[in-house]
């Protein structure tokens, strides 16, 4: 929305090889995460000082927005809870409007170590979407039983589609380049597992390059993971359903021209549109 941001960005994408020149937006979807948020934001500032941080407050009832603002982050407040997918599309729309070259998604619960963000960004050289994966050798995140089967099923299908190993498709720790931002700003599923599995399947089906980078995940600082085996079975069934729907549903094409057409808008005679 800043005039001229489009031209800056166009000049910047040419120099994107030098990591210093590209504009990076870190998107942090947050729903009632006031507790852990300040620590995550401080770590982000230390890990990627040049990046802008946008906290998407997903209809929180606690002081999430105030905490984020106090930490110097940009804040977009959703009027009610949309789920991670809605929060993320808001973030990608912002990134597209403002002409960012790359966007990184980091959870607000402290699970994702901001120290890996530079590694994810570096991997964008060879891919459109980079996923921080837990099961790729680094760290000690273990699961058993039906939950493990679900993960195996997902990684089998997605790795096959991508032509490269994707072991952790439910990871919400990911980085996108400009093309991916334009795609996700238009289409980012908000339903169950849509923000992780379905969005990745959509990207693969549209021919984007997806690859993973091994990361260690930390135990969440807030919230408790669900581990009962009945729940895990339900999870398996839902995973299979989501996968089936994701593979068959239509995926809209990205509007690549969108960011370019939005910029000249002020040049039109004022008042003509309104």
């Amino acid at each position: 929305m800043t005039p001229g941001s489009g031209t800056d960005a166009a000049a910047g994408s040419g120099a994107a090889a030098g990591t210093g020149a590209r504009r990076v937006l870190v998107i942090v979807p947050a729903w009632n995460e006031a507790e852990g948020l300040a620590a995550v934001l401080a770590e982000l500032r230390a890990a990627v000082p040049a990046a802008d941080v946008l906290v998407v407050d997903d209809g929180s009832t606690d002081r999430t927005a105030q905490t984020a603002r106090a930490a110097g982050a940009l804040v977009a407040r959703l009027p009610y809870n949309l789920g991670v997918g809605g929060a993320m599309r808001t973030g990608y729309r912002y990134a597209l409007d403002q002409g960012y070259d790359a966007a990184v998604q980091v959870d607000a619960d402290g699970q994702h170590d901001p120290g890996y963000v530079p590694a994810l960004l570096a991997a964008l050289e060879t891919a459109d979407l980079v996923v921080g994966a837990r099961f790729a050798g680094v760290g000690d995140y273990r699961v058993r039983g039906p939950r493990r089967w679900s993960m195996r099923l997902l990684s089998l299908v997605l790795s096959g589609m991508a032509g490269t190993r994707l072991t952790d498709s439910t990871s919400g720790f990911r980085a996108c380049n400009r093309d991916m931002i334009a795609f996700f700003a238009r289409w980012y599923p908000a339903e169950y597992l849509g923000d992780t599995v379905e969005s990745m399947v959509g990207a693969l089906r549209r021919g984007y390059q997806v690859r993973q980078v091994a990361v260690a995940m930390r135990p969440r600082t807030t919230g408790v993971p669900s581990q009962s085996s009945a729940r895990a079975l339900v999870y398996l069934a839902r995973t299979a359903l989501v996968l089936l729907l994701a593979l068959t549903r239509r995926v809209p094409a990205p509007q690549r021209a969108e960011s370019a057409t939005r910029v000249p808008e002020p040049a039109e005679p004022a008042g003509a549109a309104r």
């Binding site: 603002r69 940009l74 804040v75 959703l78 809605g86 808001t90």
Partner: protein, 127 residues
């Protein structure tokens, strides 16, 4: 004889409800057309329930009442499906609106922020 009294009264009441909702602008046209069609089929059938008997027999169904029940259930299923579709569409639309609102809020805040920061700075300078 009693049966046709009940069915015809029901049909007329249904048609009355539809017309009244339409008159008060409480039904969108796309639904109104459907319900008017339903209403205009229900009233004559209510008055003369045996009307469909010959058509039913032609289709291999023993009585007209069975045919009406079958057609009714199919219609209701279609209406349910249509409503699910409509509500999915509406959810998608409200989601888009919510996102737009968040972005507009963020833009507004950004516009107001430089002033706030400047104010804080001058306060700090004075203190």
């Amino acid at each position: 004889m009693h049966l046709s009294v009940i069915t015809s009264l029901t049909g007329l009441a249904l048609l009355g409800c539809i017309l009244e909702l339409l008159r008060r602008h409480q039904l969108r046209e796309k639904y109104a057309a459907l319900w008017l069609a339903v209403g205009s089929a229900v009233v004559p059938l209510g008055l003369f329930p045996q009307m469909l008997d010959s058509l039913a027999r032609g289709l291999g169904i023993v009585s007209g009442a069975s045919l009406v029940l079958f057609a009714g259930i199919v219609l209701l299923l279609l209406v349910c499906l249509h409503l699910s579709w409509e509500s999915s569409r509406l959810e998608e639309e409200t989601r888009t609106l919510a996102e737009e609102i968040a972005l507009i809020r963020a833009a507004l805040e950004e516009q107001n922020r430089p002033a706030a920061v400047a104010a804080r700075r001058t306060e700090g300078g004075a203190g």
